[in-house]
């Protein structure tokens, strides 16, 4: 279908200012991705999939300026024994990163993947992203595949003893970054990936995750508290038989965030959990867009998203479970809820189920509401002051999403940080 002139000119306008980077052996994948971008056109506000989130600032040529943020707390995951990979404004920093050797895993920069003869990486780069363009187009992900300047290729072959921690720092007010990571978890292998930090003034990140039979990947991400940053992220995951992928994202602040997760359960008995908790005060727009396709038999998928919004903050949830005819015994669950702390905040939700198999259990729910006045009174009647009681109930609301994090210490740390955020919100 031909694109309308407006979309074509906006897309070509953006592309004209960019050049395809020559990184590793990804040249062909980048050409293909560029062709996809041209065919789809970059998103516009009129696009159905962008109905509630304005894509303009992701599409425009110049990244809007984002002032730097000074952290007033210990960086997240500092207490965790991990292997650090640091990107400063989207560029790998060998100086700040740990040595990349770790038993059970091969880590390379994208630009090195040819040197190491990593055919798996060449095969994976852009592949899941391309597959994830159907039935819904995600042109910003294709743009990422074409133009990503840096990233890592991680191949997991064993049970890795400590998490790999991708740390992003944002040191330039105008940084405009495309990062692309590819992860392949081999049969029976197991890894935890941590991600934190805002990365850039404008950040476009894509992660392709291929999990072979019996592989396990845990992913815990915090998106950084920089108020003015904008981020669009995509996770494309393909799960083999009896594999497990559990991903949790915490988002506090950020003027604009769109996190897309596109998961395909291809093997039987695979499990995927995608969860997120976000808290936004004021100029905050957060969008979780999830698309889970069940193909294998007896697979489980869970989506748990909680949003706390106040002072005009906006939350969006678009979540879909597509159950193909082959996917009998599917167990799908989806819940998206928002807690609106005042009357100025907004939550838009579009839960979707599309089921072609006849023996499945799928449930979904979406709610939007205020603090429970009865619970608030009960707490106060026991002597808990109003503000403390409100925070306690707010954290309790977020708890269901945090419970999705397997590592209890990490979950406890994130909980404490959310508590801090709530207190600062009131006193800041």
């Amino acid at each position: 279908m031909a694109l309308d002139d407006l979309k074509t000119s906006a897309t070509e306008g953006r592309l004209s200012s960019m050049t395809l980077p020559d990184v590793g052996c990804t040249a062909e994948a980048r050409q293909d991705a560029l062709a996809r971008v041209r065919a789809m056109g970059l998103p516009q506000r009129r696009d159905e999939y962008w109905k509630w989130t304005r894509p303009d600032t992701f599409v425009q040529t110049e990244a809007p300026r984002a002032s730097l943020f000074h952290m007033d707390e210990t960086p997240l995951f500092d207490a965790v024994d991990r292997l650090k990979i640091v990107f400063v404004d989207g560029v790998y920093s060998a100086e700040r990163s740990d040595d990349l050797s770790l038993e059970g895993v091969q880590i390379d920069r994208l630009e090195d993947i040819c040197c190491t003869d990593e055919h798996w990486a060449e095969d994976l780069y852009g592949t899941l992203e391309a597959a994830g363009q159907v039935p819904v187009e995600r042109p910003l992900a294709a743009l990422n595949t074409a133009f990503a300047g840096d990233g890592v290729a991680i191949r997991v072959t064993g049970k890795v003893s400590k998490p790999i921690s991708l740390m992003y720092t944002h040191e330039s007010e105008v940084s405009d970054v495309f990062l692309h990571h590819i992860i392949r978890v081999e049969t029976g292998a197991e890894l935890t990936i941590l991600e934190n930090g805002p990365a850039a003034a404008r950040f476009n990140k894509c992660m392709e995750i291929d999990i072979a039979d019996g592989g396990t990947l845990h992913h815990v991400r915090a998106q950084g508290r920089d108020h003015e940053r904008r981020a669009v992220t995509h996770m494309f995951a393909r799960l083999g038989e009896e594999s497990v992928f559990k991903s949790f994202t915490l988002t506090a602040n950020g003027v604009l965030t769109r996190n897309e997760a596109v998961v395909e359960l291809t093997g039987d008995n695979a499990v995927v959990h995608i969860a997120g908790a976000c808290v936004g005060d004021g100029d905050f727009h957060h969008d979780d867009t999830v698309f889970i396709t069940h193909k294998g038999v007896n697979c489980e998928s869970r989506q748990v998203f909680k949003k706390v919004l106040c002072n005009g903050a906006t939350g969006v949830f678009q979540g879909k479970i597509l159950v193909k005819q082959s996917a009998q015994k599917t167990d799908g669950y989806q819940i998206s809820q928002s807690l609106l702390l005042d009357e100025d905040s907004q939550f838009y939700a579009k839960p979707e189920l599309e089921i072609y198999a006849d023996d499945v259990a799928c449930s979904h729910g979406s709610t939007s509401g205020a603090i429970d006045e009865d619970a608030l009174f009960y707490l106060r009647a026991r002597g808990v002051p109003h503000d403390m009681a409100t925070d306690l109930l707010t954290l309790a609301f977020l708890a269901e999403a945090l419970d999705e994090i397997e590592d209890e210490a990490l979950a406890a740390d994130l909980y404490t940080r959310l508590e801090g955020w709530l207190v600062r919100r009131r006193h800041g």
Binding site: A375, L379, R380, A381, R382, G383, A389, E400
Partner: protein
């Protein structure tokens, strides 16, 4: 202890007078019971005393140890020593019972300028008190009242009372939803807290609770007023004859 004078209360949202001049004094060390037909204003009295929204005080006063209760926030009333055992304890998903108890105990202590209880000390005390109320470790760990049976919820209320050691306890139909055994257990919990320095106001429909928690004074409330007060025998009279006789003689 608790002194209520000419208390008049209407609903905030509609022009409906619920309490039409309640006079009641509960002395330290005493147990007062309030009985009365449905809609007489018993529960409203407990809510107004604890500061629930939706009611407007149009006259009179209520003081706890001389301090004006009606001028305080709900949490301040609690810290001052007022405790309301709810007729319908609220379920709070996501908040562990233990966290809830400790937050409440320490918030009250902080409000009174007292030292907060350490985690270890708290655990020791709560375990001992929970045991006498047959509240197991699982109930302490679960979210507040979530999935609790009627009896468990009421025992949980008494546990909170035992932990908070209030000066003035109001029990709003604590017997509702309890079987005989649970009522006995809850009553024992309440009786264990009877003390020279503590006052009780027990709101109930039925005499049977008062078999276990023996009142010093019984009040009959009707149409927003205390219409008759007397000794424990008044409760028996209600049990045998209903409210009709009393209401007829006071009308």
């Amino acid at each position: 202890m608790l002194e209520i004078k000419g208390l008049k209360v209407k609903l905030e949202e509609e022009d409906k007078q619920i309490l039409k001049g309640v006079d009641l004094t509960v002395e330290a060390g005493k147990v007062h019971a309030i009985m009365g037909p449905n809609g007489s204003g018993k529960s409203t009295l407990s809510y107004v005393l604890s500061g629930r929204d939706g009611y407007e005080v149009t006259g009179g006063s209520a003081t706890l140890l001389g301090d004006d209760l009606l001028d305080m926030e709900t949490e301040e009333r609690a810290a001052a020593g007022l405790f309301l055992a709810f007729q319908y304890p609220v379920e709070i998903p996501g908040v562990g019972n233990m966290t809830f108890l400790r937050t409440a105990v320490n918030a009250q202590r902080k409000a009174r300028g007292e030292e907060e209880m350490s985690a270890a000390e708290f655990l020791k005390v709560v375990r001992a008190k929970a045991k006498t109320l047959k509240i197991d470790a699982d109930m302490l760990k679960r979210p507040v009242n979530v999935g609790f049976s009627g009896g468990e919820k009421k025992r949980n209320e008494i546990l909170q009372m035992a932990m908070l050691e209030p000066k003035m306890c109001i029990l709003d139909e604590t017997d509702s939803g309890l079987d005989v055994d649970a009522m006995k257990l809850v009553s024992e919990g309440v009786n264990a807290l009877r003390d020279e320095g503590r006052g009780f106001l027990v709101i109930t429909h039925y005499q049977r609770l008062l078999d276990h928690i023996k009142p010093d004074v019984v009040h009959i409330m009707a149409d927003g007023r205390i219409v008759k007060s007397g000794g424990p025998e008044l409760a028996l009279e209600v049990e045998n004859n209903g409210y009709a006789d009393i209401l007829a003689e006071t009308a």
